[in-house]
């Protein structure tokens, strides 16, 4: 699928927006203005933007945990100001301040952020089942990392989705690292997408630093699923510029990742690559690009203000106990 100018601008805009969101989260974590932890997405923003920018409101989405789902949810068109409020323990949070990093936007078909890596795979089958049973054309965009494919659940899910020809995209954002462990060491094959072959599922590998390439592939997979042609597997080769989560050492195995590795990675920073592309193709001028950055920063300022101006949520134990079950 080739992209038109309007689509390219939308992708570029979301890439810029989400990379600023990621930087904001990083900054707030360092400032002590975020509860819990943060797993920065820098270097790996393009896959989520490419996967989610053209999803419909009715499509199910499981966001990758890196970036705490913000990259994917913002790209899908979700207002994440209530998630930042949640992540700061405020009563305006999307989960009433109870969840820290577990977001929930059921109206936008984002049902969970599991603290258990790989717990996206099992309900993915159920979302696909519901879509098929009800004869709706909704698709399931199931995003997770290379590490998550170590879980047996990934295999159960691929087995069942392919068996029943469910409208699911297994969208693997392979940054080569799971905490300190390299994909190279933990997986027997170079490509995670090789696994799809065992289930007879079509698979494609794409440069995960190129948001436009990712989007073309994602749109084809979405289109295929929407037409009832079953699941497919997309593997994005991407990168993790930072440590696993802020404050942990940046190791590979038990040794520091080298400066050379970092320098090499940063040569392929996705916003820079996309900027070069839109300028070269005359899709956007530098002035327009500057405007997109400014608008993104302004948007984020508003999101932060909303969170910061909200009250901390501290209900009584009795109130909480009354909320364990629904009547």
């Amino acid at each position: 699928m080739s992209l038109n100018k309007k689509q390219m601008i939308k992708l570029f805009t979301n890439l810029v927006r989400t990379s600023h969101y990621d930087k904001m989260m990083y900054r707030r974590m360092m400032q002590g203005k975020l509860i819990g932890f943060y797993h920065p997405a820098e270097g790996a923003v393009a896959p989520g933007v490419g996967a989610c920018t053209f999803l419909k409101k009715d499509d199910n989405l499981n966001p990758h945990h890196r970036g705490h789902g913000i990259i994917h949810m913002v790209s899908k068109g979700i207002d994440v100001s209530t998630f930042l409020a949640e992540h700061t323990g405020k009563e305006t949070g999307c989960c009433k301040g109870r969840s820290a990093f577990h977001f929930h936007y059921p109206d936008d078909k984002v049902y969970q952020q599991s603290g258990f890596i790989g717990h996206n795979f099992a309900p993915t089958v159920g979302w696909g089942y519901a879509a098929k049973r009800r004869g709706k054309s909704q698709v399931v965009m199931n995003c997770s990392g290379d590490g998550s494919y170590g879980e047996g659940r990934a295999h159960e899910s691929m087995l069942m989705c392919q068996n029943w020809q469910l409208p699911v995209i297994f969208f693997c954002e392979n940054n080569g690292m799971a905490i300190f462990s390299s994909s190279e060491e933990m997986h027997p094959t170079e490509d995670i997408s090789s696994l799809a072959q065992g289930y007879g599922m079509p698979a494609v590998i794409v440069d995960g630093q190129d948001v436009f390439a990712v989007a073309e592939v994602a749109m084809a997979a979405i289109d295929r699923a929407r037409k009832g042609k079953g699941p497919s597997f997309v593997e994005c080769k991407t990168m993790r510029f930072n440590e696993h989560d802020i404050g942990t050492p940046d190791l590979k195995g038990w040794e520091d990742r080298s400066e050379e590795e970092h320098a090499d990675m940063r040569k392929r920073e996705p916003v820079r690559l996309a900027t070069e592309r839109v300028l070269a193709d005359a899709i956007l001028t530098q002035t327009k690009i500057d405007g997109i950055h400014e608008a993104s920063l302004k948007e984020i300022e508003g999101v932060e203000e909303f969170a910061d101006n909200s009250e901390i949520c501290l209900p009584s134990e009795e109130e909480l106990l009354a909320d364990v079950f629904v009547d």
Partner: protein, 323 residues
Amino acid sequence: MRTITLIDAIREAYQEEMRRDEDVFMVGQDIRGAIFPHTKGLVEEFGSDRIVDTPIAESGMYGVALGAAQEGMRPIVDFMFGGFSYVTFSECTVTTGQYHFLHGSPRSLPIVMTAGVGTGQRLANDHAMSIHGTFAHHPGIKVAMPSTPYDAKGMFKAAIRDNNPVMIPWHMGIMMLKGDVPELGEDYVVPLGVADIKREGSDVTVMANSLQLQHALKVADKLQEEGISCEIIDPRSFVPFDLDTVLKSLEKTNRLVVVDEDWESGSFANTVSANVMEAGFDLLDAPVTRVTLPNMPVPGGYMEDYIVPTPEKIEAAIRKVLA
């Protein structure tokens, strides 16, 4: 009234609720062929779309229910044997139980989980264990287990209509137990969270459920001949638990034996014992006495007989609290 078996009563509950609501469906392994007869004949009426067999992949199987419930459907998951729920334990306990609460309580998960449980078949540990106590430990999941065909049909119907996740296993030792149920077409439910006094008495209260309830009723008959009057309470639900009915009984009897077919350590019997001590210490004339499984893996073969709660063990416990 008609007389049917407990397992047939469960099947009637599925049939009636699936006819009533298109969103109710079942997922499990070999449920179409009915490895246990509670699903016999369902696929002929409801089709493979609603009586869904999966590969031997418990997490994926449970995931069908979890994802579909998030999408607003009302799944019933059959684990076949209770111990098999452990294969997808994180999903069916932690993830399921926290879903409603942790997200600020906008939506719940109307999932019904069921499985055959209990000793009596000499199948050993993984095929003979109880799971009600373990599920009761996890917040956000209702847990119940029927003891009679009437309760089975009414409680399964209540579970399917409940908007919360409900684990409702059934004991294999009483699957062919016969009892009266209302005529077909007479809709009724047995609400979850309400205990039932299965036999009135005045000297000692015995709390027991499922197969153990049958044992307790037999012991009560025997002791009646000696003039010992047992009040037998079936908790029916473990979460929510009807402590009031137990306390009210203790006002009369002042003595409590809790029979629980589960390992002693961390058992529901321990919870009841602690609850009664905290809320009804002054009502007690003797320490609460428990009849549970010893803390060893349930052996298979003939050795099973030595560790299960038997009528003899229940009788001994009753005599102890009366001594």
